[in-house]
């Protein structure tokens, strides 16, 4: 018996809603009609708020902005499954997550206008500030998960990352730690097929991203990331498992970045428009809308009304964001440590006396 198989692994993919909005009744997550409607509203709100950000950026009213276009289902479906006590660790492209958790949109805009105050998370929620250093924040989620485990606090730590983030060393260190201590952590990976101009295939040789966590002894699954119900369901199961001591899960949401990487990018330089076009049919909003229509929950008029309300909601957020007074030099110093050093005090004085 010189060569014996000593371990075996499978990776599964979950799909619930077809692009036509059809679904096998048995697979439907246990959600009420109003919850289905809420999911759709959030998808729609994400898209509208995202589109507005892009116009604001073009008008010079926001800085560089990363669009969520096409990824709404991955963001909304996962965030909708969370409780208010769970801790969320966003990457930088999670507008839909922020909105689903009712983070003030005005603050989100403010952040992308170049103001740190946009990431001052309201006390009633636990959303870590946007993380720019790709892949490094999974460790913070592991730490919070360990804290919750220590306190027997039924909280799950939920980091978001992209396909690119799976290549970083910290991804490995974090999920190995999560596996080892059976931490209550659910990592949501939006595999949008691109890391700026680097395609998923140029990122790693693996067939799936979900299989990467075979390296950590945790559960990995791939879901159709444009299917909000599948994303919700997978997240829900993973959260339950985490809360019940079953350890961490990695969810690969198979989706697509329909926009440029950010407003500073021009994706036509490196990707084929046919690829982009091929994903239009799988639009996450359309699919959910068809589902609602087929259940008799939605029609043109309701759509028009929703769009109008949401536009107003977004207008309101923009006004609030732009009404905020400018941050002061003092704020640049105040949060370095809990108190200023004597040198910082002098610097603050010089700085406040001078321009700009």
């Amino acid at each position: 018996m010189p060569r014996e198989t000593i371990a075996q692994f499978q990776i599964e993919r979950l799909e619930i809603l077809t692009p036509q909005g059809e679904v096998d009744a048995e697979l439907l997550p246990a959600l009420s009609d109003s919850q289905f409607l809420k999911l759709y509203e959030l998808l729609q709100l994400t898209r509208i708020a995202d589109g507005r950000a892009l116009s604001l950026q073009r008008e010079g009213r926001l800085g560089t902005f990363p669009s969520s276009l096409g990824q709404e289902a991955s963001q909304v479906g996962s965030a909708f499954a969370l409780t208010a006590k769970d801790w969320v660790f966003p990457s930088f492209r999670e507008l839909g997550v922020f909105l689903s958790l009712e983070y003030p949109l005005s603050q989100y805009y403010r952040y992308w206008a170049g103001d740190e105050r946009g990431m001052l998370c309201p006390a009633e929620m636990n959303i870590f500030p946007i993380n720019i250093a790709v892949g490094t924040h999974l460790l913070h989620a592991a730490g919070v998960a360990m804290g919750a485990q220590y306190r027997a606090d039924p909280v799950v730590a939920v980091p978001y990352l992209g396909d690119g983030g799976t290549s970083k060393g910290d991804f490995h260190e974090a999920l190995n730690i999560a596996g080892l201590y059976r931490l209550p952590l659910v990592a949501i990976c939006q595999n949008n097929q691109w890391a700026i101009s680097v395609s998923r295939k140029s990122q790693t040789a693996t067939e799936t991203l979900a299989q990467k966590v075979v390296a950590f002894g945790i559960k990995g699954i791939q879901v159709d990331g444009n299917d909000v119900l599948a994303v919700y369901q997978a997240t829900r199961e993973a959260l339950d498992r985490a809360r019940n001591g079953g350890g961490a899960t990695f969810i690969e949401c198979d989706t697509y970045r329909m926009a440029d990487h950010t407003t500073a990018d021009d994706a036509r330089r490196y990707r084929d428009s046919t690829e982009l076009e091929s994903w239009r049919d799988r639009d996450p909003l359309l699919r959910m809308r068809r589902f609602l229509e087929q259940r008799g929950l939605w029609d043109e008029a309701e759509q028009a009304a929703l769009e109008q309300t949401q536009q107003q909601q977004v207008d309101q957020a923009v006004s609030e964001a732009e009404a905020m007074p400018a941050p002061t030099a003092e704020e640049m110093f105040r949060y370095t440590c809990h108190e200023l050093s004597s040198r910082q005090q002098e610097q603050l004085k010089e700085c406040s006396d001078g321009s700009p």
Binding site: C121, A141, E173, T336
Partner: protein, 320 residues
Amino acid sequence: MAVLNLVQAINQGLQQALAEDDRVLVFGEDVAANGGVFRVTEGLHEQFGETRVFDTPLAESGIVGLAIGLSAYGLRPVAEIQFLGFAYSAIEQIYTHAARIRTRSRGRFSCPLVIRTPYGGGVKAPELHEESSEAFFCHMPGIKVVVPSTPSNAKGLLLAAIQDPDPVIYLEPTRLYRLIKEEVAEEPYLTPLGKARIAQAGDQLTIIAWGSMLERSLRAARNYPAEVIDLLTLSPFDRETILASVQKTGRLLIVQEAPKTGGFGAELAATVAEEGIMSLRAPIMRVTGYDVIPPLPLLADYNLPSEERIVNGIEELLRY
């Protein structure tokens, strides 16, 4: 009061912090059953159990990142990096995150964590076990850097670091671990961060040192009218004590174990050249490690500032 060495004093500090506050957790490579490779955490695992004192995988970025999450959650992690030479892979976690989460979240989250690590030369250890790269951390706004020099300040500074609301790098001079013993008060006490200590009073020359070089500087200075300042906290450093001393003595010698160029001694020299130059009657002098990779044991004594080199520096400055 018991007579303790540095290892025992730090161990006692950790023991008391764990006993007093259930938010304190101690972890790192080999800190549990093994009690740390220098025995600094000896007995803690037995006393406080696996949830309070535990081993981690071999992953330094992971250890620091974990501490960040734990501290943001509301606990008081005290993480050990086995040697400073292995902290380099954790610099991103330290500077990108621990240092910035308060700023980034405008105060909503913060990182009251301590990273303990043995550092410095003179112990005839393998490569990367004798690094003294404190300067990297002193150029990171948001990070505090503390270097004890005696058993009693080691304990007090450690307890202060654990209570501090900000991330603190606590560097333990390996060469001193068992070299110095002194009476250490049994009950917990705090030695405030940010304050230097006059280790020897004098009026002709100011010597600034920290960690293992403090011990050597004191030996070198014992027959000279030198004021020896034990810096204790490198970031934020105690400018006032330094400037007051230089104003009195008019001469400044900085003793630093790290490679000369870009070391923390440069900041001290620059500060005095900016704010105290009018009282100087001699050039500032740095006695430092050379601009080389810290050598293996057979060459190590060439590099670490010796008592003789410090004495030469003192004599040279006193000639002005």
